[in-house]
Symmetry: none
Subunit: 156 residues, 4 copies
DNA sequence: TATGAATGAGCATTCATTCAT
DNA sequence: CATGAATGAATGCTCATTCAT
């Protein structure tokens, strides 16, 4: 595909990266929401929250490069757009946390906003470390250990 | 300060950013190491690990902008340098985790490498979120809640 | 032509200038070598050596500006490249000088290295003077007089 | 001497280089003119013309660097000044040539303007080659061979 | 007189974007 | 629809010059 062809389908480079992110996050969120319809256990929900995200990025190195490397070089205007796109996923994390608290599985004293950063930050750091090594090992093999730590952080 | 002035003190733009990071991490690590000489409780060590880092960035918005925003736009060569600079801090995290496991405070089954990403990823995400809001609230007020989550994630 | 366009065809500004020189000298040398195949008289060879060089620069003011003005502002690294490019032409001068001495046309006591500087220096000075006047007169009209001086300098 | 001190004595960098040249050429011209008062042989005059110039540059590498390298990077305005400064030396060359023709030593058919380029071009090329090798050999050792070639170029 | 830290105009180069084909 | 050569705004850096001390 030639350089110029991109501009037939996207407004600019920003639009390309944003679209890739929006598409990926959209699928992740849709898949998780679908699953949540039939899943009520907060811990299994949290496990699913992490595994779908890891699967999507862990099986698509280029996508991971976009989200963990290229999108980090964005300016303020773009960062706002990124925020808008990720918000639904943040919403799912918040939902799981509140649900877990409500159901007496997670500690009621945790602040969902801070716990959300724990969850997303841990995932993000794990994926970035994996990308920067050149995706040499299997990211999916870390899911259980990551979820175990997150669950312990919040559960009663 | 004029454009050219910076080149009297730094080799290039990369050198400016790297020097700022190296200086800050150096101070953080030195301060923590000093404290660790008289502190043996892994949980209080972890608290200190987080608070010194938060204090350094939370009281210097420009430093936080450099570490959370500007340094993220770096190329591969620079990322390796950044890795070298942060490694001592990673070493401190690892030390606390191993020490906590040895002393029977943290669960022996946790993988320190993954737990390190939990610790650093949570801190990083928390600080980035703070910077992106324009540092409108006090970052230091989050220390106890962040540490509480991290401790629960790992303790027996 | 826009600033950036040149970088589609050349590595950098140095490459532009060097390529122009290499191309010109390459043509000059090829033309002279071709002629030398059927020419055995050293004096006529010397005449041809000068006239091809003068013709190339004397009919292309921009080329002359590059060789006599722009390429003189080069740094040490570039000067070495220039030396490598001009060497074949120097080789032709040396060939003519040695050939002339062998054939008993030029004085055997002349040092070819110094005589080469006489030949090239005279040509260079003549062309530079012409360029600096704005190429207001016909350079080619000087060929016979220049060659006459050079021949007398060396012949028995 | 500090950077700024230069500007107490010279208008700008151009002025520094120009002054160095003017001073050197001035001394060379004065010395030659002095000698010419008691010398009437055109060939010995030519020899003196070359040797004083070679001596001045050949015993002061920095001066040679200025005249052969630094002054070549000048712009049009500066080149005119350089021309004005060298003109007296050109005048001496012209004088010797005309004198030699008048006295029947040099061939009457030579054009002094072109012969001047032969003389100056050969000297210039010889000195530049010497500077570019790092002044590793003794320039003065070439005087006799250079003058011999120049004399043969022009004498009857 | 002398200093040298600070200056900022100038320039080579890059790269996201355009547009004639 | 697709191309890719051409574009030129943006930027990192240099270096001759200035000026407060």
């Amino acid at each position: 595909m030639a350089d110029g062809t991109v501009y037939l389908y996207f407004k600019n480079k920003e639009d390309v990266l944003i679209s890739i992110l929006a598409d990926a996050i959209g699928r992740v969120v849709a898949e998780i929401e679908e699953r949540f319809k039939t899943e009520s256990d907060p811990i299994r929900k949290l496990h699913y929250l992490v595994s779908v995200y890891f699967e999507k990025l862990g099986t698509d190195k280029n996508l991971a490069l976009v989200t963990q490397i290229h999108l980090r070089q964005s300016d303020q205007a773009m960062r706002r757009q990124i925020g808008d796109i990720i918000r639904p996923y943040y919403g799912l994390i918040d939902h799981v946390l509140r649900d877990g608290i409500e159901k007496g599985v997670f500690r009621p004293e945790i602040d969902p906003r801070i716990a959300r950063r724990l969850v997303f930050g841990t995932m993000d750091e794990t994926i970035t470390a994996w990308v920067l090594t050149g995706a040499k090992y299997n990211l999916l093999g870390l899911i259980d250990q990551v979820v175990d730590l997150l669950v312990h952080a919040m559960k009663k």
